[in-house]
Structure formats: structure tokens, C-alpha cells
Amino acid sequence: MLVAEFEPQIIAFCCNWCTYAAADLAGTARVHYPPNVRIVRVMCSGMVNPIYVLKAFEGGADGVLVAGCHLADCHYLDGPVKCDAMVDKLRKVLHVLGLEDERLRREMVSTSEGVLFARVIKEMVEQLKTIGPSPFKVKMEALA
């Protein structure tokens, strides 16, 4: 029997001003990247609350990407600083929970970096394919 290859699901929280536009640019410029990502547009990476990430994992995401402007580019001045602090803290919590570090990724992608966005997604999908499905996904499938 042919076993379907594991296709990871990624939830990406992208800031409205930079990364979302970069994803758009990647699209218009026909830069290919795997279709495993679902983008959630947020106004600023600094507004991404730990619960958004945890809820994504609860819902069965294999990986979460939090991406926004570079440090000095923020539309709201210090969003990326807040985001970094949040991710650092959450990473420690997820580590205790036994989740691999690769499952939560923090990136800064500016408007013009469509190629970088595509590369980040490609890398992430490859990494997640090697480490396999999230331990919380099994729970969700068992329920279905």
C-alpha cells in the first residue's frame, strides 16, 4: 500500500505591514513555496499573544511561524521587541512541554523579501517533515 507522505501544517502569524506583504510579493513574483502554510494576518507581530500559538498547537498545527517587520521597521515602533520577548518566554514553556524548538519559528521578513519568505516556509516544511507530526495532532486524529 502506498503510504502518503506526511504533510506538515503550518500556521503563520504575519504582520500586516511587512511579512504579509512579502507573502503577497512572493505570490505576484511567482516564487514557489510549499502550500503547507495557512497565513493569519495580524496588525503587528507584537500583538501575537502566546495563546494564539498554543491554540494553533491545540488545533493540530505541526509548526507555528511568527513573522513581522525588522527591528527598526515597525509601524508601531517596538512591536518586534515585544514579539521577541513573547517568543523567548513561550519557547521555554514549550520546551518543558517537550515540543521541539523547530516547531515555533520567529522570523523578520520585510515587504521586499518575498524570496526570503518562500525560503523560510521551504526550510520549515523540510524540518517538520524530518521531525514528524506534532504530539498534539495524534490526539486530534484519535478524536476524529
Binding site: N49, P50, I51, L54, K55, F57, E58, K89, K92, V93, H95, V96, L97, G98, L99, P135, F136, V138, K139
Partner: protein
């Protein structure tokens, strides 16, 4: 379970509508729209919507002050807990503090396949044994450590202190590498499904470990294991809070911890509601405090049965009213002239520390006092290395 069953089970129909519950309720003192008496009346009149769709349902601290005054012995906290289960079924969750992270972590821990890394803090300094028949329950401490780092709470510090105490008593406890959340918060916010799953995971692991006794550093876990787990799972072992264990050992032999260092401090003690009113443990922590040379214990205006809650339960509905409650309790502690407030519950400490980070209103700043867990105080008195276990 419907409202009628809850009324039967908690004997709410005995209510005389005397309103003593509301008059002693710490929440009602600051939040005039909160009334345990009205909630019971709504239930008795069959007004389910008024009861379960009201956000006030999640404001109850379940601190058992009302029940200690009730002439009809209505179990209001359990009534609230069961009503919350109905509310959850109807999509009500209360307002989760810390954006609901802690509730989410509990739900994530129900996954059977996770392999937690919760014992990475364990160093050579502490002696643990795989073969021991005593288990030290670590609980949420490894998660609290990063989440509450900015309020300078060291939950693992309490666990480490407890390990040091156990080692000094000659006990080398076992620690479970993959224990789950005890489910206390899930149960009290009405998320019975999550609670049941967590309880099953824990019970299976404890059975496999084959322990005879579980020692707790947190009264919430202790309460859950002692009173709530027996309704869902079979544990087959004894449970004890660290203060009870210490009081028992010190009662038998006052020098059991070796020669304790003198700590010249005036302290006051906060009774955690889970340890005090829920389980009736008032004397054990006080006896432990008195056994430390130099410690002078002064009681707050409200202590023991009348003790006031730290203001939030199950990390739900933490609002300005909770903050006022905390400020008031801290003022009581400061008014005793004590230099330090001792608690026996990591969550009491979390909430008080959180309140102290807040500057308070301009004309009424939040009172400040040093706060420490009982286990840390005892561990400090034991000194370097403590008494040899051999």
C-alpha cells in the same frame, strides 16, 4: 448533569436565603453585583440562563468562606463548580487570566504522546531515588518558572526547597518524568473532560510507579488528589502536604532536621484556602514555623478559618476586585508588623507577587512585604547540605 441534579447533590434546597454567604464573601465586598445568595436563588427558581450565562459565575473564588458560615451547610463552591460545567457546555469559559495560557497548557497535556522535559532543573545536589515509595509531586512548577519570571516568582525554588527538606528527613523521593497537570484549574472552571483525562494519565503513572505516599508542595494539587481524584480514578496511596509531613516528623522528634539555623524574623502566615478551609490543615504549618529558632509568628486580623483568599482561583476572572482583595490582604499582613509573609501555596505567592508589581492607586499604593513559601523558609534554616541522611 442538569441544574436539578446539582441542586439535589449539593443540597442547595436547604438554603434559608439568610444571605450570610454574601455578607462574608470576599468577592461580594468589592463587587456589589456578585451575590452567592442570588445565584442559589436563581438556581432554585429554575432560572438557568441567569445563573450560567452570567460572567459572575466565574468570579467565585471557591474559597469556602461562605460554607463555613452557612447555617444549612449548603456546599456553595461545589454548586458553583458544577454550574460552571453546565456553563462550559454552553460556551462560557469565564475570563481567563494570562490570556488562557495555563488552561491551554492543561488541555495540551491531555495528549497521550507528549514527552515532557520537566525535570531538567534537577541537579546532583538533590538525592532522588527510582526505587523510593515516596513521590514528590512537582506539579506546574516547571511551567510557572518561565511564565512568571517577570514577577520574580520561583516556583521551582519551592520544589527544590522541598527536595532539600525531604533529603534532610532521610527521604530520597521519586519524581515522575512525565506527570501531567493535576487538573485542579480545569475541574474548577467546569472543564470536566480535560480533568478526567489528566486524572487518568496521572493515576496510571502513579500506579506504575508503585508508590505508597505522594508529598505535595502545592495545596491545590493536594486537594485535587485527596478529594477529587477518588471520584474519578483509584490511586491506592496516601497523600500529604509537605507541611503536614514536617509537622508529623517534628512532633515525633524535634531534632529530626538536625540543628536548625536561627532566623531572627517576625513573620505572619497566609492560610491558603485549599489547605485551610478545604482540608482543615491549620496547625501543621504553624507548628513547623514555631519549630524554627528565632521565628516569631504573629497572626493577621483574619486568620485560620476566617482567612482571606489571595484573590484569584484557577486563573479565571482576575479583575480589579481581585486586586483590591489582594491589597487588603497585604495591608493586613503589613499591619501585623511582620517582616515577612509566609504562604504554603505557590499560587497564593504568584497572586500576591503579581499584586505587588502593580504600583496601585496614587493615593493608596499597594502595600509591600517580603513573601516566601514555608518550604523555602525551612530549607534556609536547614543550612548548607543539611543533616546527613545516613
Amino acid at each position: 448533569m442538569n441544574l436539578e441534579d446539582i441542586i439535589q447533590e449539593t443540597k442547595t434546597y436547604y438554603c434559608l436565603e439568610c444571605g450570610k454567604c454574601t455578607s462574608v464573601c470576599p468577592v461580594a465586598r468589592y463587587d456589589t453585583s456578585f451575590s452567592p445568595r442570588m445565584m442559589i436563588e436563581n438556581a432554585l427558581l429554575g432560572f438557568e440562563d441567569e445563573l450560567v450565562l452570567d460572567k459572575e459565575l466565574f468570579s467565585c473564588l471557591t474559597c469556602y468562606t461562605c460554607q463555613s458560615e452557612c447555617p444549612s451547610d449548603v456546599d456553595f463552591p461545589v454548586f458553583v463548580r458544577k454550574a460552571r460545567a453546565i456553563a462550559q457546555g454552553r460556551g462560557q469559559r469565564g475570563i481567563c487570566a494570562h490570556s488562557g495560557q495555563l488552561q491551554s497548557l492543561a488541555r495540551l497535556m491531555t495528549s497521550p504522546t507528549i514527552k515532557q522535559k520537566r525535570l531538567e532543573w534537577l541537579s546532583q545536589e538533590y538525592r532522588v531515588s527510582e526505587k523510593s515509595d515516596v513521590l514528590l509531586w512537582v506539579g506546574c512548577a516547571p511551567y510557572f518558572e518561565p511564565i512568571f519570571e517577570d514577577i520574580e516568582l520561583s516556583a521551582l525554588g519551592i520544589t527544590k526547597a522541598s527536595l532539600k527538606i525531604l533529603n534532610s528527613l532521610g527521604i530520597e523521593p521519586k519524581l515522575l518524568p512525565n506527570e501531567r497537570c493535576c487538573g485542579h484549574d480545569a475541574l474548577w472552571t467546569g472543564d470536566i473532560e480535560t480533568f478526567r483525562k489528566l486524572a487518568e494519565h496521572n493515576a496510571a503513572q502513579i500506579k506504575e510507579a508503585g508508590v505508597k505516599k505522594i508529598v505535595f508542595t502545592c495545596p491545590e494539587g493536594y486537594r485535587t488528589f485527596k478529594l477529587d481524584y477518588p471520584n474519578h480514578v483509584d490511586l491506592g496511596c496516601e497523600v500529604q502536604h509537605i507541611s503536614e509531613l514536617l509537622a508529623e516528623k517534628i512532633g515525633r522528634n524535634p531534632d529530626v532536621l538536625g540543628k536548625l539555623k536561627e532566623i531572627k524574623k517576625k513573620v505572619t502566615y497566609q492560610d491558603p484556602c485549599r489547605l485551610g478551609r478545604h482540608l482543615g490543615v491549620y496547625d501543621a504549618p504553624r507548628r513547623v514555623l514555631e519549630s524554627i529558632p528565632g521565628i516569631e509568628l504573629v497572626e493577621m486580623k483574619h486568620s485560620g478559618l476566617e482567612s482571606i483568599c489571595c484573590g484569584t482561583s484557577a486563573f479565571t476572572n482576575c479583575d480589579s476586585c481581585s486586586n483590591k482583595l489582594r491589597s487588603e490582604r497585604l495591608s493586613e499582613a503589613v499591619a501585623t508588623g511582620a517582616e515577612m509573609l509566609i504562604t504554603a501555596c505557590p499560587k497564593c505567592q504568584t497572586h500576591f507577587r503579581c499584586a505587588m508589581v502593580d504600583k496601585g492607586e496614587e493615593h493608596r499604593p499597594t502595600p509591600k512585604i517580603e513573601i516566601m513559601d514555608l518550604a523555602n523558609l525551612v530549607a534556609n534554616a536547614i543550612g548548607e547540605g543539611g543533616k546527613s541522611s545516613k
